[in-house]
């Protein structure tokens, strides 16, 4: 019997260590051209005129007039232009490409281009709502009548930059017959293919997308690469030579999508037994200039309102606001980190307001199997969160430290977050929109090839999905081959997002492999295709946001210990302890790698990573001023992965990738509260903010 927990060598380990793994920037052609984007320097206004110098031979300008069919990047909505036409809505909006053989000449042309704008007053506040959603559970107004006390608080979160170490980049070339091929750093080959088909008006078989090695993504390469792909596809159709565009770090940081800044207001109705009867919530998200995926991010934020607690009466609403700033988008957690920060802080603050022990108060509201979710779906599967909380508290010595650090002058603190993450797409996304399909082919030598569009961006999908198939077939890993996705070979198994890859794509692969095993004909070529079918129990009403929003939930507990300098107010992390329920860990070492990396990003979101704009211009534009953790910042970590197999996941697996991020910010913020004896309602809790909190009382 194969053990799913067992770790196997990562299939790309050798090439990644030796530097032989091929990323898009490593690919070149003899006749390659390079492209650079000319971007808006104002936050809002009309383009009156564009002055282009006389171009040297072999150099080209590509703009909206060259777009073959549709000057919009197809995502969920089509509000995001490929190139600006006559108006710009944020600093950094692409206007045109300069393409040619020599990067230095391109730079000279770019700096000689003059754009004459008629500026308008930009909007940076939450005034233009473009998406509004709401849902209810129980009867909030009844709860309000029955309550003896109302407590309201507001929470704010800032931008977070994905800061993958490999910047965005794409390469486009024409194959014989005029097929447009794109090779690039991406999470979603079919998002790119569909966007390019839409922009070029080409049939499906005239666009091909290939994924090379990807140097980190974290959501930042979910929808954004489609914008570069549409620009380059337009350019390659015009110029008919291979064109490569690799972002420099500054360009990447200034113009790519980031985590949505948010403002969340929570109102609790509390009865005489100190039980939360109801919560009224409003979420505001800053989409930047274009909506993109923001509506879906809003849903996930709103649905996470009760986190790991059961609250019977809810009145939840939210708005996506457009502003004249860089568009925000997907980032690991996808709206959930904002809300989980807010609700975890709120539950702790409520306990303090009521004079209760926060741990006991939260425990009194803890979710259990059979309870109803925020959207009145059912928590069907066993929930082992209480056991996990106990384990996390034991390994971190939480109870003793909390009491000790509560002493006024300690400047030490410890904080604990409990959280869930809905696995896979929200609502009917998987069955109504994605309709995932996988293909496996056994050749005459009985070697099995996986043809799927799931991307390994570092999380180890190539290794663990291959492992799932090998286990299901009962063969050694070497008999299974999983090359990088190529849309000419791989059907649309969906994007590599939403913690769906193992649960959904892995599940389909396990079924396909079982099917192949049952019908195995040695020495013959065989092909199996499997289509996604949602579990029968899933009932979801997208218009009312009611029912089972997710097929399954993963669970986690994070404990973070800090010491705050009483002089500089700098926060030093002293220890991190985590317990996760991801159903079944397929390759435990890979899952722990996700856990370590996820919480590093989550904790840094809470105390370290600052990005702000000033009149629409981002003030952090490189890794020198946008600070991400170094090896010196991270403390040792201890992680326990529970075993709680999910009936519909491959070998019991649920989602893991995002779960490990969402609890980090509240855990560190609660630890800071414990250390400084002040409430933290805003992240990142920087030294400046901590000083403000200490001075303002």
């Amino acid at each position: 019997m194969f053990d799913p927990n067992k770790s196997t060598p990562k299939i790309d380990h050798e090439e990644k260590c030796s530097g032989q793994a091929v990323y898009v920037s490593d690919i070149t052609f003899d006749d390659i051209l390079y492209a650079k984007t000319v971007r808006s320097t104002i936050a809002k206004g009309y383009i009156r005129a564009i002055g282009v110098p006389t171009l040297p031979r072999g150099y080209h300008i590509v703009d909206h007039r060259d777009v073959v069919k549709e000057n919009y990047v197809k995502m969920i909505l089509t509000d995001w232009p490929v190139f600006a036409v006559d108006r710009v809505n944020y600093i950094g909006e692409p206007i045109l490409l300069v393409v040619g053989p020599d990067k230095r000449v391109i730079d000279e042309i770019v700096s000689a281009i003059q754009i004459d704008y008629e500026e308008e007053t930009p909007v940076f506040d939450f005034v233009n709502s473009v998406v509004n959603k709401s849902f209810a559970k129980g009867d909030y107004s009844q709860a309000a009548k029955a309550a003896k006390r109302t407590i309201i608080e507001t929470f704010n979160t800032g931008y977070q930059e994905q800061a993958y170490i490999e910047p965005q980049g794409m390469l486009a070339y024409l194959e014989e017959g005029g097929k447009v091929t794109l090779v690039g750093s991406m999470q979603c080959p079919y998002y790119i293919k569909n966007a390019v088909i839409n922009t070029l008006g080409y049939p499906e078989d005239k666009v091909r997308v290939i994924q090379p090695a990807v140097g980190g993504a974290f959501g930042g390469k979910e929808e954004f690469p489609s914008t570069i792909a549409c620009q380059l596809a337009t350019a390659v159709v015009k110029i008919k030579r291979p064109i490569k565009m690799i972002f420099e770090r500054e360009e990447d940081m200034l113009v790519t999508t980031k985590r949505h800044p948010s403002e969340i207001t929570l109102e609790a109705k509390i009865d005489e037994n100190n039980k939360v009867l109801g919560i009224k919530a409003h979420v505001s998200l800053d989409a930047g200039a274009y909506i993109g995926l923001s509506g879906v991010v809003l849903s996930r934020a709103m649905l996470a309102v009760t986190n790991a607690y059961t609250i019977n009466n809810l009145d939840v609403s939210g708005d996506v606001y457009v502003t004249n700033t860089v568009p925000t988008g997907a980032f690991r957690g996808f709206g959930s980190p904002q809300m989980i920060f807010a609700i975890e802080m709120f539950m702790n603050h409520l306990a303090k307001d009521l004079g209760l022990d926060p741990y006991q108060f939260r425990l009194n509201h803890l979710v259990k199997q059979g309870d109803l979710t925020s959207t009145s779906g059912l928590y069907r599967d066993p929930i082992i969160l209480k056991d996990m909380i106990g384990k996390a508290m034991a390994i971190s010595d939480y109870q003793k430290k909390t009491e000790e650090y509560a002493k006024l002058d300690s400047f030490k603190g410890i904080g604990m977050s409990w959280f869930l993450h809905g696995c896979g797409f929200t609502g009917d996304g998987e069955s109504a929109h994605i309709k995932a399909k996988v293909r496996i082919v056994k050749d005459e030598k009985d070697v099995v090839h996986l043809h799927i569009a799931a991307v390994d961006m570092g999380q180890g999908a190539r290794t663990s999905l291959k492992r799932v198939v090998a286990m299901a077939l009962g063969v050694e890993n070497e008999q299974v081959v999983f090359d990088y996705p190529d849309t000419d070979l791989a059907p649309d198994s969906g994007p590599t997002v939403a913690s769906r890859t193992m649960m959904i794509v892995g599940g389909l692969l396990a079924r396909a492999a079982q099917n192949l095993k049952d019908n195995w004909k040695a020495g013959e070529r065989q092909e199996i295709i499997e289509n996604y079918q949602p579990p029968q129990y899933i009932k979801w009403d997208e218009s009312k946001l009611q029912g089972d929003a997710y097929p399954a939930y993963s669970w986690g507990v994070n404990i973070v210990e800090v010491e705050v300098s009483p002089v500089t107010y700098e926060v030093e992390l002293k220890g991190i302890w985590s317990v996760y329920d991801v159903g079944k860990a397929i390759d435990e070492r890979i899952v722990i790698g996700q856990a370590d990396g996820g919480i590093t990003q989550g904790v840094a979101y809470g105390y370290l990573e600052v990005m702000r704009h000033e009149n629409g211009k981002l003030r952090q534009k490189n890794l020198t001023d946008y600070i991400i953790p170094t090896s010196m910042d991270m403390p040792p970590m201890e992680t326990i992965i529970m075993d709680n197999p999910f009936a519909y996941g491959p070998y019991g697996a649920k989602g893991a990738g995002e779960l490990t991020l969402v609890g980090g910010a509240p855990a560190v913020a609660l630890a800071i509260e414990n250390a400084i004896k002040r409430r933290v309602n805003r992240i990142p809790a920087t030294p400046e903010h901590i000083m403000e909190l200490l001075n303002n009382e």
Binding site: G19, I165, L623
Partner: protein, 157 residues
Amino acid sequence: MNSIKFNLNGQDVAVELNPSLRLLDVLRDHFHLTGTKEGCGEGECGACSVLINGRVVNSCCFPLANANGKKILTIEGLAATKRYQILKDAFHIEGGSQCGICTPGMIMAAESLLSMNPHPTDEEIRIGLSGNLCRCTGYNMIIKAVKTAAKLGEGLW
């Protein structure tokens, strides 16, 4: 143009190129040594780490002119050594590589650290790798990998 001479991965080479070019571009574009990666272009992330006379240097901030007369080792050169095999195995055992874009630079920094300090403590490893950013791992698996390499490669450094 005077030629610039240096030793690259054990071979003496001479190039006639603009001396202000970044060593990173010379390695990648002229010598096709693409194992040295570019992450930030400003000496912050360490993905472009190479060893110059045995010390780890960000090749994105190193002008070609300064390479004259130096011994330069890239990941391709290190990959031919026993020490690399040990580091690679240790990174495998501990799960020290995810997306891989920082990994060659991380291994160069580890080589530099171990060659100066064959038995580093955890704290010394953290300091030794603090010029190399990783966004995937949270560093602990990398720290363990270097520690494991020091043990497995006892006597090599």
